[in-house]
């Protein structure tokens, strides 16, 4: 197993470098440049050119790529053009917020998706199955930004106006008076801010997991060893949860790895709508400002997270399926 992980990590290095190089070139091809932010009659071309020189944008692509690669390999991500501070700080500020959101969403997505899927499989063609299928399909088809706005409309704006006992905050990760709260107050404050963005991400992706789990369960449940388990008198609960579920989960675990990129692209919208100061926001702003160093760093971080996610899925695969051995 250790050998397998080492091989995978080493194999990921050229992949990530290729991704970074590709992004660098695509960025260069995109029209517009960061100095153009200062679009105003008062900025004469001399100042504009000076800015471009200060940012190093006047050099040819190959030179800039060489410089970038050199400092990148030594761990120097450079300075953000738009925020005028080290890119490493930009990423370190935003990454924990995104990871918090992503980990909560992945956990919830997995739990909700598998529970619903199992329930549907056990009650195949029953009312519960049909209703959950319709609901699942609905969430699966909805774009995450629409769902985000609807959740905000109902559970924040309307909940507040109609005087519901619980109205969730629409934006941010903490309240403005967070510093003055008790430890318990701080915890619930953070939790309540997490509800809407995490729910949005969860609902869209959990629907897919549920469909998948249901299909797998139905296949497994028809197999001989399940009949054997039932025949030897095991309670249905044990049959489903212990024997059938474990085998159904094998492909679902892989699915979670594959969903990581979807999750990260989802955060771009969700973070923007809920003003969640994470990587999605950073990358969104950086692209519209043509802030190349930040775009490079953030997409590299996302790419790395996806590679790690996939590796994790492969490892989990071996955990849930003893037949699989990596050597």
């Amino acid at each position: 197993m250790t050998g397998f992980i080492t091989r995978r990590v080493l194999g990921a290095i050229p992949l990530l470098l290729a991704v970074a190089t590709l992004i660098f070139i695509v960025l260069d091809l995109a029209p517009g440049d960061p100095a153009a932010q200062y679009f105003n009659p008062n900025v004469p071309p001399e100042v504009y050119e000076q800015l471009r020189r200060n940012l190093g944008l006047d050099q040819p692509l190959a030179t800039r790529y060489g410089k970038w690669l050199g400092s990148f390999l030594t761990g120097d991500f450079g300075y953000s053009f738009a925020q005028n501070r080290p890119v490493a700080n930009v990423v370190l500020d935003a990454l924990p917020n995104t990871l918090l959101l992503a980990v909560v969403a992945i956990g919830a997505m997995f739990v909700v998706g598998v529970l619903v899927g199992v329930l549907q499989a056990v009650r195949q063609h029953g009312w519960a199955d049909r209703i959950l299928s319709v609901i699942g399909l609905f969430f699966y088809s909805m774009p995450s930004f629409w769902l985000a706005l609807m959740l905000m409309l109902v559970f924040s704006l309307k909940a507040h106006q109609w005087g519901w006992p619980i109205a969730f905050p629409a934006t941010g990760i903490t309240s403005f008076d967070y510093e003055f709260l008790s430890p318990w107050g701080k915890f619930t404050d953070r939790l309540s801010h997490l509800v809407l963005p995490a729910t949005t991400l969860t609902l869209v992706l959990a629907a897919g997991v549920a469909r998948y789990t249901r299909g797998q369960m139905l296949e497994v449940i028809r197999q001989d060893y399940i009949r054997t388990a039932r025949a030897k008198g095991l309670p249905e609960r044990t049959v489903v949860l212990k024997h059938a579920l474990r085998n159904s989960l094998i492909p679902v675990v892989t699915l979670v790895g594959l969903y990581l990129p979807l999750l990260f692209s989802g955060t771009v919208f969700v973070e923007t709508i809920f003003s969640w100061p994470g990587m999605g926001r950073v990358i969104f702003d950086a692209i519209s400002q043509r802030d190349a160093p930040v775009i490079m760093a953030t997409s590299f971080v996302f790419a790395t997270l996806v590679v790690i996610g996939n590796l994790l899925a492969d490892v989990l695969y071996a955990v849930v399926d003893p037949r699989i051995r990596y050597d």
């Binding site: 679009f39 629409w146 704006l157 934006t171 400002q289």
Partner: protein, 535 residues
């Protein structure tokens, strides 16, 4: 100097969706006892708080009204009044001597003195710093001489009107920034943790999340004294619909950036109040004067007649705008009393016929003598307002037989094309960064700028008559003299129509009814921040 970041296509459609669904909501009173903390929502994060390198609008306002103390300040009639400088003396037309207050201190306790002012001037003037301060304010100022700790003399390049307005900027602390090289100023650590001199100090800045300001207790009484709010939290909330939700639910007390289609909702709510004031952004259609058919002033004027500004202001801005005739704002003391071209399709038809554009094949689009149709692309960025306006303009032009093909692209793409003059016609906007009347017209329409790659004169307009008026306007020493030249220039601009100026967009903001002291005007949204107080 300032640039609003363009709203994305996705985000715009979202605002519309939520606004439509939640229209007409009432909302009950939110608990607003926040212990002297006022919460403000803005659309995008600030950039570094350094007057020398800053280029964004709200950052500039926080520098001038909250964190630092400018040399002079504007009063409500846009006259210059003493601020950090308690008095000044004009040395003829060629120089000004400022005497600084003795009671303004940096937040680390050091006094703000003439050396700080001179330091800021020198750094801004250094080409390596690529300072926009230098371009916006100091192009006519040649030299600074420190006479003593409280006295400084500035020599002008040449006499000009509105000369005191060259000093609406805040000095930066020399003792904190002297070691930073000019090219590195933009990335200085100071910019994110500044030592200021204004009524507020920066207590916390979490990127993309919030900026926290704390009142400075001993800020001089004559400059407003201690601010009303103990703490001001400025939260970054990019989505307009989300900001409004927070305003309704009490998560913020003031929403700095309200969209025109949200005004009904704010006005309908007893808890909320709408603030509307004339802005500094002018929208216009630029005609590429080097390309057919816009080489002919008659064609440009005809299209100017064809566009119905009033309809656009009423329908798309919900009335929150004023017709524009030039880049001189209507509320400026020097604004000439010249009306824009009226909406007159008959006049447009007449001019186009005169210029040889007739609908020869009866397809509704005019052709020139050699059969070339009156067809061109109209370029704009993908902001919702820009998109809506070009669609209406297209229909107006269609009525006089001109066929505008719309090209709507992402902001940076549009800008690259516009800057390099690779366009036929473009719908764009300018944000004025100060109240000096001459700067924008000169940069936009002087012939010396027309040849320079990437300059602001993107229409490539330039005539001897316009040049001499622009030069005379800038050289005039008294405002009265200058006003005469500017009036003539605007009349010429109206006749030649190198660009068709459309409207000045009002700035819109919302606040909760309990918040007091909020008063905004063209000087900026954050102008009165020190007076804002939660209930």
């Amino acid at each position: 100097m300032k640039q609003r970041s363009p709203a994305s296509a996705a985000s715009v459609s979202l605002c519309v969706a939520l606004a439509a669904l939640s229209a007409g909501c009432g909302g009950d009173g939110a608990p607003e006892s926040t212990g002297g903390t006022l919460v403000v929502g803005v659309r995008s994060d600030f950039s570094g708080f350094n007057a020398i390198t800053n280029s964004s609008q709200y950052t500039d306002e926080l520098i001038k009204y909250a964190l630092f103390t400018p040399i002079v300040q504007y009063d409500e009639s846009l006259g210059v009044r003493p601020w950090l400088a308690e008095s000044w003396e004009l040395d003829g037309d060629s120089a000004v001597v400022f005497t600084l207050r003795s009671d303004v201190r940096w937040h680390d306790g050091e006094p703000v003195d003439a050396r700080d002012v001179a330091f800021t001037f020198e750094r801004a003037k250094d080409p390596e710093a690529a300072s926009l301060l230098a371009e916006a304010y100091l192009s006519q100022v040649a030299r600074a001489d420190v006479i003593d700790a409280r006295t400084i003399r500035f020599a002008y390049e040449r006499p000009h009107a509105q000369a005191l307005e060259n000093f609406w900027w805040a000095p930066m602390p020399e003792h904190r920034l002297a070691d930073v090289s000019p090219a590195e100023l933009r990335n200085a650590d100071f910019n994110r943790a500044p030592v200021g001199s204004g009524p507020f100090r920066l207590a916390e800045w979490r990127a993309n999340e919030r900026v926290v300001l704390e009142a400075v207790e001993d800020f001089p009484e004559e400059l407003g004294g201690r601010p009303s709010a103990e703490r001001v939290v400025i939260r970054v909330i990019p989505e307009a619909a989300t900001r409004l939700t927070e305003l309704v639910t009490g998560g913020i007390h003031v929403d700095i950036d309200v969209a025109p289609d949200q005004t009904d909702q704010i006005e309908a709510s007893p808890d909320l109040e709408l603030l509307s004031f004339p802005g500094r952004t002018v929208y216009f259609v630029a005609w590429n004067n080097l390309r057919e058919p816009f080489t002919d002033a008659r064609v440009r004027r005809a299209l100017g007649y064809a566009i119905n500004r009033e309809e656009i202001i009423a329908a798309l801005l919900e009335g929150h705008g004023a017709p524009a005739v030039s880049p001189i704002p209507p509320w400026s003391p020097l604004a000439p009393a010249v009306e824009p071209l009226p909406h007159d399709t008959a006049a447009a038809d007449r001019l186009l016929e005169e210029a040889g554009w007739l609908d020869r094949d009866g397809d509704g689009v005019r052709e020139s003598e050699n059969g070339a149709p009156l067809r061109f692309t109209l370029l704009t960025s993908d902001r919702a307002l820009n998109r809506a306006v070009v669609e209406v303009v297209q229909s107006h032009l269609r009525r006089v037989g001109a066929d505008a093909r719309l090209q709507v692209t992402e902001f940076q793409t549009m800008l690259a094309q516009f800057r390099s003059r690779e366009y036929d016609a473009a719908f764009a906007n300018w944000v004025l960064d100060n109240f000096q009347v001459g700067t924008a017209p000169f940069a936009l329409f002087h012939s010396s700028q027309a040849e320079i790659a990437g300059s602001a004169n993107r229409t490539s307009y330039g005539t001897p008559a316009a040049d001499s008026l622009l030069e005379a306007g800038r050289a005039a020493v008294t405002p009265e003299d200058a006003a005469v030249f500017w009036a003539d220039f605007v009349r010429l601009l109206k006749e030649d129509q190198p660009a068709t100026f459309m409207f000045w967009l009002d700035e819109l903001a919302g606040k909760r009814a309990g918040v007091t002291g909020v008063d905004m005007d063209p000087r900026g949204e954050f102008r009165g921040l020190a007076d804002w107080a939660p209930r």
